[in-house]
Structure formats: C-alpha cells, structure tokens
C-alpha cells in the first residue's frame, strides 16, 4: 500500500487533502499501467484523470481500505475498457494495415540499435496496438495486465473477482486469439516460413 488506511478513510469522509495525497501517491503507478493498457501516450493523462475522478465519486462505496489497491486497479481497468471501446468505434484497426516491414522493425530482436529509439518504440506500440485490436477489449486488458504489466494470478483474482482456474482459461484463450492474429500478420507468416524451412 502506498498510503495508510487512515488517509483512505479520511478521503472517504470527504477530506479533499487526503484525496490529493492519494492522487499524489498513486498517479505514477496508475499512469504507467494505463500507458501499457491503451498504448497511446497522448491519451494516458486524460484516462488517468478519469480514473481519479471515478475514484472520488465512488470512494464511499469502498467497504474496507484493505481492498483499496485492487479496487483502484479495477477502476483503472474499467476506464481503459471505456477508452478502448471509444477508440474502436472511432477507428477500426485492420490487421492488413501493418506491413511486413513494419512488423520486422517492431520485432524486439530484429530491430537494430542504429535505428532511432523513439521511432522503434512508436512502431512497437503501433504493432502491438494493431495486434491487440484484433481481440476484444477484455482479452486485451487481461493479457496486458498479465504479460506486460506482470501481475500475478493472485492479483488478477482480486481485481477480476474470479477464480484462478477461470482466469487461466481466459488468459489461455486470449493468448491463442492474439497468436492467431499474430500468425495472420507479416510476423506470423515469417515465422511460419522459417518453421517450414527448418522442417525441410
């Protein structure tokens, strides 16, 4: 916990100073999570503010300060869902949109050190965004929390309020769907070619 229970309770009673302290304590972590969940740095702050606004208006629904962190994560995940849904409505990413060259450049090992780092990062983000946009927002967020954010199954259990086994099944299916999308993309075709060449 980054803040004491007392501070959370004070914020629940309407203490704005305590709420500000909670924002100060968690904003970096929340913004980092959002950045990885939505993959668009330009919108991270906006979604982050939305999370804290939702926190402010729903703090009274928090029964006990012990579950504050998973609860805040849930708010973050929901805000990310909403953002991703809005984005999906605005612009449908198609798998065909990214070229094989883009895929190769984005591959972590394939990219060369001489390339401009920020450009490479931007391409990686674009590629992963395109890949993840081929699956549902739920799959995307779950997979990102587990494989990018590095949350444990126990932590995910608290956030999603579902049993570990159910989470494992969902994670497996989500990964399979992303792998399928990956296989359809240039990178996947490359891997398939490489596989068949090795088999010969």
């Amino acid at each position: 916990m980054l803040v004491e229970h007392d501070r959370i309770e004070r914020a629940q009673r309407g203490d704005d100073v305590a709420f500000n302290e909670i924002v100060q304590a968690y904003r970096k972590r929340i913004l980092g999570t959002i950045a990885r969940l939505i993959g668009r740095p330009e919108d991270v702050e906006d979604v982050g503010q939305e999370v804290f606004v939702r926190l402010y208006f729903s703090l009274d629904q928090l029964r006990t300060p012990e579950v504050f962190e998973p609860w805040l994560y849930r708010l973050t995940v929901n805000a990310a869902y909403d953002y991703l849904r809005r984005q999906r409505r605005r612009r449908e990413h198609r798998m065909a949109d990214f070229s094989e060259q883009q895929v190769l450049l984005a591959d972590a090992d394939a990219s060369t050190r001489e390339e401009d780092e920020s450009r490479r990062r931007s391409q990686v983000r674009e590629l992963v965004n395109s890949l993840l946009s081929a699956v549902s927002e739920e799959d995307r967020v779950l997979l990102t929390l587990k494989e990018v954010e590095g949350l444990s199954l126990k932590e995910l259990e608290k956030i999603y309020r579902v049993k570990e086994n159910a989470l494992k099944v969902r994670l497996f299916r989500a990964r399979q769907r992303v792998l399928k999308a990956f296989a359809r993309s240039g990178a996947g075709q490359e891997a398939a070619k490489a596989g068949s060449a090795k088999a010969i």
Binding site: Q24, G32, R36, Q49, E50, V53, G195
Partner: protein, 117 residues
C-alpha cells in the same frame, strides 16, 4: 501450422510484448494533472447539481399537478356533474317513455292482434 512455428510464434510474441513494455515508459507527469482532476470533479458536480435541480423541479410540478387534479375531483362542482353523479341505469330509467301515438302503437298494438304479423 507446425509445432515448431507455433513455438517460434509464441517466443516472438513474448519478445514483442516485452519490447512493448519497454516502449511504454511511464508518461511524464504534467504539473496540471491534479488540477485537471479537480476541474473535472467540479464539472461533474455542477452537472449533477443541475440535473438534481431539474429533477426536483419536475417532481414539484408533478406534485402540484396531482394536488390540483385531486382538489378538482373532490370539489362539489365536480360531484354535481350529471354525467358522473348517476349510473347509466339511473339515466335510462329517468328517460321519458315514448309518448308519440305511433310509437305507442308499435310498442302496444291495439287489440293484441298478433296474427297479422
């Protein structure tokens, strides 16, 4: 897809996701971040307040209209209305019987001569 290529794909996806993690560094915190939160909170509060006022106004108007209608229904003028102060049968029984001779003839034929029919 062969097992080999599946494994290769898996590994590539893992590498890609790791690269993605590095490609999404924590964004720089702008100084106006917290202020922005409070601006949004105030906006939402204002909206909630305006909505609450509107809802209260509508409820008040509905209550006033209900009272008005109730007082109208309870008023003596409303009670004395011929349409609602008597039942349909009462109204029928109060209707005058046909007095015209021709109508009486039809209703009660003279001599009770029904054979003609």
């Amino acid at each position: 897809m062969s097992f080999e290529s599946q494994g290769d794909l898996d590994a590539r996806l893992d590498r890609l996701l790791a690269a993605y993690r590095d490609a999404c560094p924590p964004p720089g915190l702008s100084p106006g971040f917290t202020t922005g939160i409070w601006v949004k909170i105030e906006e939402r509060r204002r909206f909630t307040l305006a909505f609450r006022r509107l809802a209260q106004g509508l409820v008040t108007a509905a209550v006033a209209l209900t009272l008005l209608m109730a007082s109208y229904v309870a008023s003596p003028w409303f009670q004395s209305s011929p349409v609602y102060s008597a039942t349909y049968l009462d109204v029928l029984s109060e209707e005058s019987v046909p007095q015209h001779p021709a109508l009486l003839e039809i209703a009660h034929p003279a001599g009770g001569d029904y054979e003609a029919f």
